[in-house]
């Protein structure tokens, strides 16, 4: 028995080593770093040990702005993306003729570089000759300064992110839809189920495990949003930092302000938030399963 488990660990060794080097060690270092005042990554010197970084962090209005923005982002993007993806997945699934074509088209955002997508969306959001303002103009809506005015920066980011995150969700839901037996739908037909009720009472409950999975993965991903901000606002966080997110804040503190300790403290806070959110989610869904 002992021997057997020892052999097992040898097989696991490569991935354990990689995990330790690239996940566990940086995690521990970041936590340690967050308690070192004026830490320098060049020579490893520091001036104090304690909560100075956290004090600085919680005094910084930009950090709170990033917290607020990230929360808004998560609350808007995750549910909207899941609802829209569900709808589109069901539509694609019912479309017999061009199923393969649409499956590919909807998956494109997932495999395309965020930077490239960002360039396209910058053009679409352009206030003078962008597609979005043109479309809105058809309904008599005045051109919106999507990317140049602080109050529109977050909405622009959210629209962009919803579109981008749908690809993965649609893929998951399409896979889930394949697992629902055809006979259940036939039975529903015999039972004279109205179309919308088939969707709400049969399709959605059958996809519940995929919806939970997508929301957990989507939420964790959304809390770590950075690429989308970077690509949409060309490396900035929107006009007057109006679309700053937690990870962007951490990035900015680390690479632009050289405040390594504060950046580390920010990462620890983000880590705790994600940890708490996933715990709540797992508990809620776990309890549902029991019932």
């Amino acid at each position: 028995m002992e021997k057997k488990s020892f052999k097992g660990y040898i097989y696991l060794l490569p991935s354990i080593i990689i995990m330790i080097c690239f996940t566990l060690y940086p995690l521990v270092r970041a936590i340690v770093m967050s308690f070192l005042g004026d830490y320098s990554i060049i020579n490893g010197s520091y001036k104090s040990i304690g909560f100075d970084n956290y004090k600085d962090l919680f005094k910084d209005p930009d950090f709170f702005k990033s917290l607020r923005n990230t929360s808004i982002y998560v609350i808007c993007v995750v549910p909207a993306s899941i609802c829209l993806s569900l709808l589109i997945a069901v539509l694609i699934n019912n479309c017999k003729k061009f199923k393969a074509f649409f499956q590919t088209v909807y998956f494109l955002p997932y495999v395309t570089s965020v930077i490239a997508i960002g360039i396209v969306w910058r053009w679409m959001f352009n206030s003078n000759y962008g597609l979005i303002n043109y479309a809105l103009g058809l309904f008599g809506i005045e051109p919106i300064q999507w990317l140049n005015r602080p109050e529109y920066a977050m909405p622009a980011l959210i629209i962009f992110a919803i579109w981008k995150s749908m690809a993965f969700n649609i893929l998951i839901f399409l896979a889930g839809l394949q697992t629902i037996p055809e006979d259940i739908y036939r039975a529903a037909r015999i039972d004279s189920t109205p179309r919308f009720r088939v969707f709400t009472r049969i399709t959605v409950p059958s996809l519940a495990p995929m919806i939970v999975y997508s929301s957990v993965i989507g939420m964790i991903g959304a809390f770590k949003v950075y690429n989308e901000v970077f690509s949409l606002f060309q490396g900035k966080a929107g006009p007057a930092n109006s679309a700053i997110t937690i990870v962007y804040y951490i990035y900015d503190k680390f690479y632009n302000s050289y405040k390594y300790g504060v950046a580390a403290a920010g990462s620890v806070v983000l880590f705790l938030i994600i940890l708490a959110m996933t715990q709540i989610q797992l508990r809620v869904t776990g309890e549902k399963k029991k019932n």
Binding site: P181, D183, I184, R186, A187, A188, R189, I190, D191, S192, T193, P194, R197, R201, I202, P205, S206, A208
Partner: protein, 347 residues
């Protein structure tokens, strides 16, 4: 509700899954659609349900032509082979679902569901999910769900194929009991001849999309329309032998089987069921090649001409391989078929 099927045909590519089928089913009858897999029996059932559209032909429920009426408006209950219960709903929700879809108020729907659950004896399981039920219980839920909307016709697709042997016998009696209690015209599909014969009022035997015979079970068993039907019904399978008729005497392999029959001279195909033999001194002498004890009967294998034939005798009879038994065929139990495999008569 009387059901009339007229010239029903379903074509897939260039294959006729169902080929010009015509059938009349009387109100309140239990009809078994019987045949080997791929014979078109399930296709027929799904055309009756409306889930499959016929290529040509008509279906009447009563005097009403329902051929182009969608399944939801046909007033049918359908039980799927795998039951197709809604897995995330409780038993009660499964049964009330069709009622609520039809606009029945929730309290009334619950009452009707409970009533139907009592008929199929699952009223103790109303709060369970399908995953927590046995196969037999799931089937009862499926039947209750099909019957709760008070349909005119109940359709069952291979209702017993997912159950184990003991439960199968139990459940088929249950289906019969429920059908009698609700007094509903019922059509079920099966490939098991014993199942079909034991509970059906009438059986429709199909082969390669063509209806072979539609008859009361006992009549069909005794007077199969053709060799296919004679072989399909009954276990152990009927013995097929070649016979010669000359001057009213039937002989097979040189052995006289019957005299004084009114049949034209010639060579015929014949069938003799294993239980049609009885032990008789001075009868046909058969060498015993093997025996199988089945309980009530003893099955003897013997060479007759070039064929191995099966003979059933009472289980108290003491025979061993190598022994000789003398048997004769009961009066009227030699089934004689013509060149087209059709039954000519029994002698």
């Amino acid at each position: 509700m009387d059901i009339r099927i007229e010239n029903l045909t379903k074509t897939y590519g260039n294959l006729n899954a169902v080929d010009h089928m015509s059938l009349n089913i009387k109100d309140g009858e239990l009809v078994g659609l019987l045949g080997p897999s791929g014979c078109g029996k399930s296709t027929t059932l799904f055309m009756l349900s409306g889930l499959t559209t016929p290529t040509t032909g008509k279906i009447f429920f009563g005097d009403k032509d329902v051929t182009s009426i969608p399944p939801e408006d046909r007033e049918i209950g359908l039980v799927f082979q795998n039951y197709a219960l809604y897995p995330h709903m409780t038993v009660e929700d499964n049964i009330t679902f069709p009622l609520i879809n039809r606009g029945v108020k929730k309290p009334q729907a619950k009452e009707m569901a409970l009533e139907m659950a009592k008929v199929v004896k699952i009223d103790q399981l109303m709060n369970r999910k399908p995953g927590e039920l046995s196969g037999g219980q799931q089937q009862r839920v499926a039947i209750a769900r099909a019957l709760v909307k008070k349909p005119q016709v109940l359709l069952l697709d291979e209702p017993l194929s997912n159950l184990d042997a003991k439960l199968r016998v139990e459940t088929r009696e249950e289906i019969r009991r429920i059908q009698q209690e609700v007094k509903i015209t019922t059509i079920f599909v099966t490939h098991d001849q014993e199942e079909a014969m034991s509970i059906s009022d009438r059986i429709a035997v199909m082969k390669e999309g063509v209806l072979q015979q539609y008859e009361v079970p006992q009549t069909m068993y005794l007077n199969p329309a053709n060799i296919f039907v004679s072989r399909f019904l009954g276990t152990p399978e009927i013995n097929n032998i070649e016979i010669d008729v000359k001057d009213g005497v039937i002989t097979a392999d040189g052995v006289e089987l019957r005299r004084g029959v009114s049949l034209a001279d010639g060579h015929y195909k014949a069938g003799v069921r294993p239980e049609s033999f009885h032990v008789a001194e001075g009868g046909i002498s058969l060498g015993v090649e093997g025996i199988r004890m089945t309980g009530r009967d003893l099955l003897i294998f013997s060479k007759f001409g070039n064929e191995t034939i099966r003979v059933l005798v009472h289980s108290y009879m003491q025979v061993n391989p190598g022994d000789k038994v003398e048997v004769s065929v009961r009066e009227g139990h030699i089934l004689v078929f013509d060149d087209a495999d059709k039954l000519i008569g029994r002698f």
